[in-house]
């Protein structure tokens, strides 16, 4: 047996270290170490509540809008404030813009370049995949960067800039879009759809959305040569490398639900296991600090609900091995992300994939790509729903005493902000980010976090210093380490 320490992991947002016990060419046990502590929850204490809208997006440059929307939602909860229809629609468009751009960035820039590694040089597909997806030098990045940048002109129109906008407010958005901008939003979405249909999918978005089972997906892909589109290329490689057998965690999927609508959100809230869907009870969330570099409170190390959460770093903490706390839902480890979101929402393809093979490298990537298609179609509808001349932002005073929470979905999964206001100032502010869930350390019961579970069983090839299977599994979660600890 040998303990292997891997890192840095690039092409994740931030930095992470993975420690592995490897026995007979297989990972037997894993520890995930979140390395960077900045202390946003300490910084926010004593601030004016609305200043959270400046600080929290700067937790993360890739989930910036998601952090803004979670903060604005928590503050609106304190104020009892509702958005006007335009404000909600514009907020949805901005959040969707970030989430879809993040999925695209993940697929093309973070995830696929690992298949251009020399370790695959003898595989039949390698020369084509390497030419297409090689980091910096591949042909894909030259098409993706301009498409992504043009798509993000929506941010210029709706939110001023990205990342780190102050347009997302508790009562709506600060940028009232006029008719001419509404036209431009629709035309930008048209151009982005064309990129997706020609380059990513090689088919109409509606045909992708109609795929309702693993069999349907396979039949769809079989119509085309494997190099028909980037999605087809991925499915080919996934089949050859059996990525559906790599990186399975506990298969309890959670989603906060996201993109509120007039009657229901676009994607529903809940928890899904093979036994079916159940409601998500936010009161059942606790953060365990038994294996974090965190000091205990006066009442010991008992896991705390975020409203009562405590963040005092302690590099000497006895069993600590990460700056990350360990969030648990009713004591359970959950997996969050696009796959979880789509499985909870009930998309038939993702439900079928989850039933067949659970959460794994292949299904997580399919979840993301499928979601790109779903969300872009929804964005086209939202763009039409904007009503120029109608209000975008409601207003209400900030109470001196209140508590509120904002539960939303970032690209990479469930994001929650919990704020307590006392005497007009922030008394406590706690954040649980998607990768806090996925990359948490062990808890007091010894349960490993989702990635720690997913790495067990990963194959290690002879002579590999940085096992490529581990690279795929880690990045399949689309981790954001700067959010994780914050």
């Amino acid at each position: 047996m040998s303990r292997r320490i891997l890192g840095p992991f690039n092409r994740v947002e931030g930095d992470v270290e993975v420690q592995l016990d490897i026995v007979d060419g297989t990972v037997r046990e894993a520890w995930v170490v979140s390395l960077l502590y900045r202390g946003f929850e300490q910084i926010l204490q004593g601030k004016a509540p609305q200043d959270a809208l400046v600080y929290t997006p700067r937790i993360c440059g890739i989930c910036s809008v998601s952090q803004s929307v979670a903060a604005a939602t928590a503050l609106a909860d304190c104020q009892g404030l509702q958005m006007p229809a335009n404000g909600q629609t514009a907020t949805n468009l901005v959040l969707a813009n970030e989430n879809v751009a993040d999925h695209l960035t993940h697929f093309y820039l973070f995830f696929m370049p690992d298949f251009a590694r020399e370790v695959y040089a003898t595989d039949a597909w390698y020369p084509y995949i390497a030419e297409r997806f090689r980091a910096v030098k591949g042909t894909a990045i030259r098409e993706v960067l301009p498409a992504r940048a043009q798509f993000m002109h929506l941010m210029g129109l709706l939110a001023g800039k990205w990342p780190h906008s102050l347009a997302l407010q508790p009562g709506g958005t600060t940028r009232a879009v006029e008719i001419q901008e509404q036209m431009r939003i629709s035309s930008i979405l048209f151009g982005f759809r064309r990129f997706l249909e020609s380059t990513l999918f090689g088919d109409r978005l509606e045909n992708i959305l109609a795929l309702d089972s693993l069999a349907a997906l396979q039949a769809w892909a079989d119509q085309f040569p494997w190099q028909h589109s980037d999605f087809c290329r991925f499915l080919h490689v996934a089949e050859k490398l059996q990525l559906d057998e790599l990186g399975r965690a506990g298969d309890t999927f959670m989603s906060n639900g996201v993109y509120p609508g007039q009657t229901a959100p676009l994607f529903r809230r809940g928890v899904w296991t093979n036994d079916g869907l159940s409601p998500l009870e936010p009161d059942d969330i606790r953060e365990d600090i038994s294996h974090g570099w965190m000091a205990q409170g006066e009442d010991g190390a008992a896991p705390k609900h975020p409203f009562d959460g405590l963040t005092v770093p302690d590099a000497e903490a006895r069993d600590g091995y990460s700056w990350c706390k360990a969030p648990r839902l009713d004591g359970q480890v959950v997996e969050v992300g696009a796959l979880a979101r789509q499985v909870v929402d009930g998309h038939p393809l993702l439900r079928d994939l989850a039933r067949h093979s659970g959460g794994n490298v292949r299904n997580r990537v399919i979840g993301r790509l499928l979601e790109i298609a779903r969300v872009v179609v929804a964005m086209e509808g939202w763009a039409r729903e904007l009503l120029p001349g109608e209000p975008y932002c409601n207003h209400a005073p900030m109470p001196d005493q209140a508590e509120g929470c904002g539960l939303i979905e970032a690209a990479r999964g469930s994001l929650g902000h919990w704020v307590k206001i006392e005497k007009g100032r922030i008394r406590n502010y706690q954040i649980i980010a998607p990768t806090t869930w996925n990359f948490s350390p062990r808890d007091a019961e010894g349960q490993p976090g989702a990635l720690e579970q997913a790495l067990v069983g990963a194959p290690v090839r002879a002579g590999e210093k940085d096992p490529v299977s581990v690279q795929h599994i880690v990045r399949s979660f689309d981790p954001c380490m700067v959010c994780t600890v914050h």
Binding site: R11, L35, R38, K161, Q169, D466
Partner: protein, 338 residues
């Protein structure tokens, strides 16, 4: 004739106590995109955390090659602040796969690089990470807030002869970064091109106020009162655009945006200590009804006199539109006014 680099310039990009937002912003570069911009400037990316293939042992091997002098380090970019805590150990950010704090790697590599570039206000001055009580003891490469007592200190000059180039901003505009790196790569960035805080004058000699679409409201002191109002945000909503060094309203972000165009105040994110304004960001502190932070190079008495005069002269159109989220009163047509 511009001097083209005879050889490629090697660039290493590291991240520490920040959010990665300057890299994400950089990926929004257009005409040309980032990859094209680097190619055209003869910049060879040794490694970037969001872009490069190499991980783990390959990356650590690269750092060893640089230390051994086998790979030339022309440009070192740091994104995010230097993390010194707790108690000066730097353990709030240990580099993965290494027993060293990131702080030590940054210090070592900065002394080997021809040029050292701080990308973003965190790397330049400490930035958001240094807010509040600065729990991680964050600072910039050369500055700690407004003082040049950061990691490398006041006397530091990189091998190429320049102090740290502070491309401040939270985040940085993609072109601030690409254009500054192009200047460096072509040997055309000199000490005279940096302002007193080490910022490239190419963008820091401008003010956010320049090109602000709310300029007419500013001229007549027709002020916004709440988020989404169209009026000038200086009087009530904390806007610092008249003092902030950047070209955000003439260069524009994500195609057609800026903070002001997005309907919210400039928070002066290119300045040291912007993260602690001493009051809520979206409120303008006032004494006897007069905003405390006035344009820096205008005599205060003149400003107050002009402001009260122009406010009295403000057209009804501006007064009404200033507190609305869309234009309610159109400009009068010449000869058809009522």
């Amino acid at each position: 004739m511009t001097t083209r680099p005879a050889t490629q310039k090697n660039l290493l990009w590291l991240q520490s106590g920040g959010c990665g937002g300057c890299s994400q912003s950089l990926l929004c570069a257009e005409a040309p995109d980032l990859v094209m911009a680097f190619e055209s400037a003869g910049i060879r990316l040794l490694w970037h955390p969001s872009l490069s293939e190499a991980s783990g042992a390959d990356f650590r091997g690269l750092l060893e090659q640089i230390k051994a002098g086998e790979v030339r380090l022309d440009i070192l970019c740091l994104e995010g602040s230097v993390i010194r805590g707790p108690n000066g150990t730097g353990q709030f950010h240990r580099m993965a796969g290494s027993d060293q704090p990131m702080m030590a790697w940054i210090d070592d590599l900065a002394h080997r690089a021809e040029h050292v570039v701080a990308v973003g206000s965190c790397a330049a001055y400490g930035g958001i990470t240094a807010a509040g009580d600065n729990p991680s003891d964050a600072c910039g490469l050369q500055y700690d807030g407004e003082e040049n007592t950061g990691l490398l200190g006041a006397d530091f000059t990189a091998r190429g002869g320049l102090s740290v180039v502070n491309i401040a901003g939270c985040p940085t505009h993609p072109n601030w970064v690409t254009e500054t790196l192009m200047q460096i790569a072509s040997g055309q960035l000199h000490a005279r091109d940096l302002d007193a805080l080490g910022r490239p004058r190419s963008y820091a000699d401008h003010l956010v106020h320049h090109g602000c679409p709310r300029n007419e409201y500013y001229e007549y002191k027709a002020s916004a009162e709440k988020p989404s109002d169209l009026g000038c945000m200086m009087e009530h909503l904390g806007c610092l655009g008249t003092q902030a060094h950047a070209d955000c309203n003439t260069r524009l972000w994500n195609g057609e945006g800026s903070c002001l165009r997005g309907g919210y105040a400039c928070i002066n994110c290119t300045a040291p200590c912007f993260e602690e304004p001493g009051h809520p960001f979206n409120e303008t502190p006032k004494i006897a009804g007069i905003p405390v932070g006035l344009p820096t190079d205008m005599p205060k008495a003149w400003f107050v006199a002009l402001a009260s005069l122009s406010k009295a002269a403000a057209p009804a159109r501006l007064k009404e539109n200033a507190v609305s989220d869309h234009i309610r009163v159109s400009p009068t047509q010449r000869g058809k006014g009522s």
